[in-house]
């Protein structure tokens, strides 16, 4: 599974990628997380390429993602044409108001900021992680929960609200996928 996550710096784009990689490790899968670094991160877009697989991971760079998660307009414009036919594009519809021009992909609009803020104001990316699970199919809620517990080990207070976000995101998407 090849995933590109893209948005503004500060939206938790890189963290969401790490959450996916930590979850994949919990499922004993190989994983790689490659951040964009350098000048393009300052005030512009941040993105990361995440891959998980039961096989050896060859290139850590992604030219044809299976899933694109766009947290802002420029990200959708930059990456939508690279998604594989039959792939998935998800937008944060609180910020992105453009729809994809692609007819051969599954397109989901999730107002993650609004939905997550009811539970945890800083939980939009964890909500998105939950929403990704019904698409991934091979990463369970249990594995993602363990990953969240691991990532927030040093801040145990925030764990329950984040797990709630994760589960809410998963339930929301399960209904959409059906």
């Amino acid at each position: 599974m090849k995933i590109i996550i893209s948005g503004f710096g500060g939206q938790g784009v890189l963290s969401l990628g790490k959450f996916i990689s930590y979850s994949a490790i919990e499922e004993n899968l190989n994983t790689s997380w490659l951040p964009s670094y350098g000048p393009e991160m300052r005030g512009g877009t941040a993105n990361c390429s995440v891959i998980y697989s039961a096989e050896e991971i060859a290139a850590p760079v992604i030219d044809k993602p299976d899933v694109l998660i766009a947290f802002n307009e420029p990200s959708l414009a930059k990456f939508e044409n690279s998604v594989v036919p039959g792939g998935v594009i998800i937008i944060n519809s609180d910020i992105v108001h453009t729809k994809t021009t692609r007819k051969d992909v599954k397109f989901y609009e999730i107002p993650v900021d609004t939905l997550a803020s009811a539970i945890n104001k800083r939980g939009a990316n964890v909500y998105m992680l939950g929403a990704l699970l019904p698409i991934f199919k091979d990463i369970t809620v249990e594995a993602a929960t363990k990953a969240i517990e691991h990532v927030f080990e040093s801040k145990p207070k925030v764990i329950p609200a984040n797990i709630e976000c994760l589960k809410a995101g998963c339930e929301y998407m399960t209904k959409l996928v059906k």
Partner: protein, 351 residues
């Protein structure tokens, strides 16, 4: 147990596990996580970390620590490695072991901070002045960074030779699942009392330096170094062959670029084009023999060297192929990274 490790941090922890207790460095992107990690980790294990006032100073601290018999290390990125070259030449001239990491960025000059492989010549053909070589490793995954760093200290000690590990910003910044080997028991590390300036020479003076004014003495030392390099070539040359048995189009690439080639090999094979890869793991000594043996195979149509440079390793590929088959080159520069699709297109158009 496998954990998610950032390339730079995995190198640092692997060095600690290998018994490295002394790190001297100066900050530069994209390798800052190595000194940052060492700054607290070495303190935990009773070692010493110094952020020197410059790269020149840091490499000379490594020189001193290595002369005293310690497992010592420094890391930097391209412009910083240039500054260290005088010290590296002195360390080679003093016949001392140490480990140097170069997380390459784009150049020349200050260049950019994005990944590149423009320091191949510098790493393999000397870098500093005089007749000497570092042993150069080029890992391509975070796990391989761990395994090679762990072993690099043993290799350096065994041959009393500086070892350079080269990666690029991509490998340093990315995270992958990797397992760190167990902590070495320091009492099992090689004993250096017979030569090190460590206060164990019964009051006799022990001088470690690289100055040899007598022509014959220096030539004998040059001969000694090159005998050593022959032995290293025989015992330490490493490479990986990937779908090379029946390949007609053979990529040669190292580090992160080799992984992009692997993805291209798979795509080409799915389209019925027999592609393969030779991935040098040691850049010095260079795995010339496997390339030459491959060039002799009837089925092989051409070699395609792929680098994030204007073409440096391609010269060693051409020397190894020795005119037996065409050797082509594909490169990107400035911090740009080629995609598997670019390589697939290059092979198909050139068929």
């Amino acid at each position: 147990m496998k954990k998610l490790w950032k390339g730079n941090e995995a190198i640092a922890e692997a060095a600690v596990a290998a018994g490295c207790r002394y790190f001297f460095g100066y900050p530069i992107t994209p390798q800052n996580e190595i000194p940052e990690y060492m700054s607290w980790r070495l303190f935990e294990v009773g070692g010493a970390f110094i952020q020197a006032e410059s790269e020149v100073s840091a490499i000379n601290m490594v020189y001193g620590a290595a002369g005293a018999g310690a497992r010592a290390m420094t890391s930097s990125s391209s412009p910083g490695i240039s500054l260290k070259q005088e010290g590296i030449s002195y360390i080679a001239g003093a016949d001392l072991p140490c480990v140097i990491v170069n997380m390459m960025r784009s150049g020349p000059g200050l260049g950019g901070i994005q990944p590149a492989q423009g320091d191949y010549f510098q790493a393999t053909k000397g870098g500093g002045h005089g007749d000497y070589h570092c042993i150069v490793f080029a890992p391509s995954t975070v796990q391989e960074f761990v395994d090679i760093t762990y072993r690099a200290f043993d290799v350096a000690d065994e041959y009393k030779n500086p070892v350079m590990i080269i990666g690029d910003g991509m490998l340093g910044q990315m995270m992958e699942s990797a397992e760190i080997p167990p902590m070495r028991d320091l009492s099992t590390l090689p004993n250096k009392d017979s030569w090190a300036a460590c206060g164990h020479s019964d009051g006799k003076q022990r001088l470690i330096n690289s100055i040899r004014f007598e022509a014959d003495e220096l030539e004998a030392f040059n001969d000694y170094l090159f005998k050593k390099y022959e032995k290293i070539a025989e015992k330490e040359t490493r490479y990986e062959e990937y779908y090379n048995e029946d390949a007609e189009y053979v990529f040669v690439a190292y580090g992160s670029v080799a992984r992009i080639c692997k993805a291209a090999v798979m795509e080409l094979r799915q389209e019925g084009i027999k592609a393969g890869l030779i991935r040098p793991i040691t850049l010095y000594p260079y795995p010339s023999k496997v390339i030459n043996d491959t060039a002799k195979k009837h089925g092989v149509k051409k070699f395609i060297t792929v680098e994030m440079s204007k073409g440096q390793m391609v010269e060693d590929v051409r020397l190894a192929v020795n005119g037996l088959k065409p050797v082509e080159f594909y490169g990107r520069c400035g911090g740009n990274v080629m995609m598997p699709a670019d390589l697939v297109k290059f092979v198909k158009e050139g068929k």
